[in-house]
Amino acid sequence: MAYEEGEKNLERAKVLRPSEVSRREGQFTDENKQGEWTKATESNRVTNRQSATHECLTDEQIADLERRGLGQKFEITGLSGPGNGSAEDTGTVTDYRPQEVAKNQSFALGMDYEDKRDHRSVYKKMTEFAQAAGKRAADPEGWKSYIQGELDKMIGVGEGLNIAKDSTKGAVAAGWNALTDGTVATCLAKPNAINDPLFHAVGGALTAMAEDPNAVNQALERVGVTILNASERYSALPNREKGHVIGETMFGLANPEGSTEGGELALKIADGVATHVDAAVMKTIQQSLKAAEEAAKSSPEVAQEMKQMLQNYLRGKGLTGPELEYAGVPKGYFDGLETAKPDDHVLFMKGDKGLPQGVKPSEQVLVTEHFTSSGRVVNDIQVSDEVLKAAELQGFDKEAVTEKLQKIADAVKDVYAQLGKYDAAKYGSERAYGNRFHEMLRQSLNNAGEPAISTEASYLKGHTSTWGKLGSSRIDISLGDAQEPFASVCLKTLKATPSPQQERGWIRNLPHLKDGSIPPRMYLKLPPEQ
């Protein structure tokens, strides 16, 4: 129905409507047009009011409007546009009180449409509609807030990225004071790619400081280098990934809070982890929203991107709708955005265990340690039923499976001992560290000469294949007979999850078990993901 569509358009066009109204006020203060309006509404007039808008208002209400500079008449829009019918022909326009959706930010239209014919007089309809229009238009501050709120929703990253980047640069200088004023402690409240190396640097520094005051300068230098590296790494990232870093890290660097004596720093670190995360998240949200005000001026596209990044960041925090609103995110703020896919999270997915969705906790191979009576450390390996079942199908018993997994666990530990912890200053990117870990593990296992453990095995249509052959699938480690493995092991030093194409490749290329099923794939978590 034409009129109904017109009213719905009014609802959808909340952002534009006030500006149109304000432009048209001037038109109605024109004497000629006032005359036209007076003449057109003369037959419906029951008072001497010169304005239909004023006709149904009390003297006090009109005085209030005039005092606020709103005494002029307003155009009623949306009733007579092309293709629209009139209220008389199509139904009832009902006025409601304008509702404040978000505090000082958003106002719902005080109007609704009821799809039925009514028998009100033209005068009555005009009166009711005028009241509705009058109430809405009489609150310009509300509209201004509403429009600003809508603009705020289009906030982006462009300038926000630069702000964060500059903040990072500033943090290099700030880093020199960080150890004593608590900045680092706050930053460390959110362990992540940049904070992790900082944590280690500061942790070592604290120990050194306790023993030797002369070590302080050296420790500070180490912190400075770490921040510089982090900053350079950040600068080289694509915008999308920068956004992740902003959400995860930059706030912590740019927004120091709290200040205590240097001696309390270690306590603050521990305390911060437990108590400051929520505050940091809240402020990240607020900072993002504020940055958007600036970014929206230069690029709506970038603004949208920032919005997307903020959504991804918040999703990672597991915040619920009410929590988001409490943090200042307007309701419906993320409407229309894409749902982030796991592959989008190239960096530092919080809470990610490196497993695709759908893996149940029971499907787990667990390696734990305990001391023997002579003080030796031995591993306890709990093998999942899924793996055991597959091994038995291929002729391996539980003992053999445990032995193979023990060898892998030993090799992993030995490589870790050789490589050490991930250190950005030493290894550069985490990817480089991961690649090196992979290669050393491969060599270690190959050198061990264990026949039932094959590294970097390639398969094509159910048979072993040469590495790199077109269409083949390569797996990190295969367990069992290389021709017919009972399981594959996927090393998870990086966050990337298998693509659907990889998944199809494995199904197509890996030799299936004797019952036709596909060998299970074990995901072995390695540093720096722990």
């Binding site: 667990l366 030796r376 992993v412 197509r508 072995l524």
Partner: protein, 85 residues
């Protein structure tokens, strides 16, 4: 044997092992002896070995990762070794 149906799924299993946190500094035992990477230690069963790493597990506490030569690389509790001077 194997009918390759594209609707098949690869069973996915998580293999989880905790890697210890490597300690940078020397370790001082209750008896006042200090152990560091590179130090030689002796164990009743494993013989003499060289400390490669000192690290700590959240579940076990501090351990020594030692190269015992013919007995391979193994971890031991620091209280069960004697420092070889």
């Amino acid at each position: 044997m194997d009918e390759r149906k594209q609707d098949q799924k690869v069973p996915q299993v998580e293999m989880e092992m905790q890697l210890p946190d490597i300690l940078d500094g020397p370790l001082e035992l209750e008896n006042g002896v200090t152990l560091n990477e590179g130090d030689m230690v002796e164990h009743a069963e494993l013989g003499k070995g060289k400390i490669l790493r000192i690290w700590t597990y959240t579940t076990l506490g501090t351990c020594l990762y030692v190269d015992w030569g013919a007995n391979g690389k193994q971890e031991v509790h620091p209280g069960y070794v004697r420092k070889v001077v």
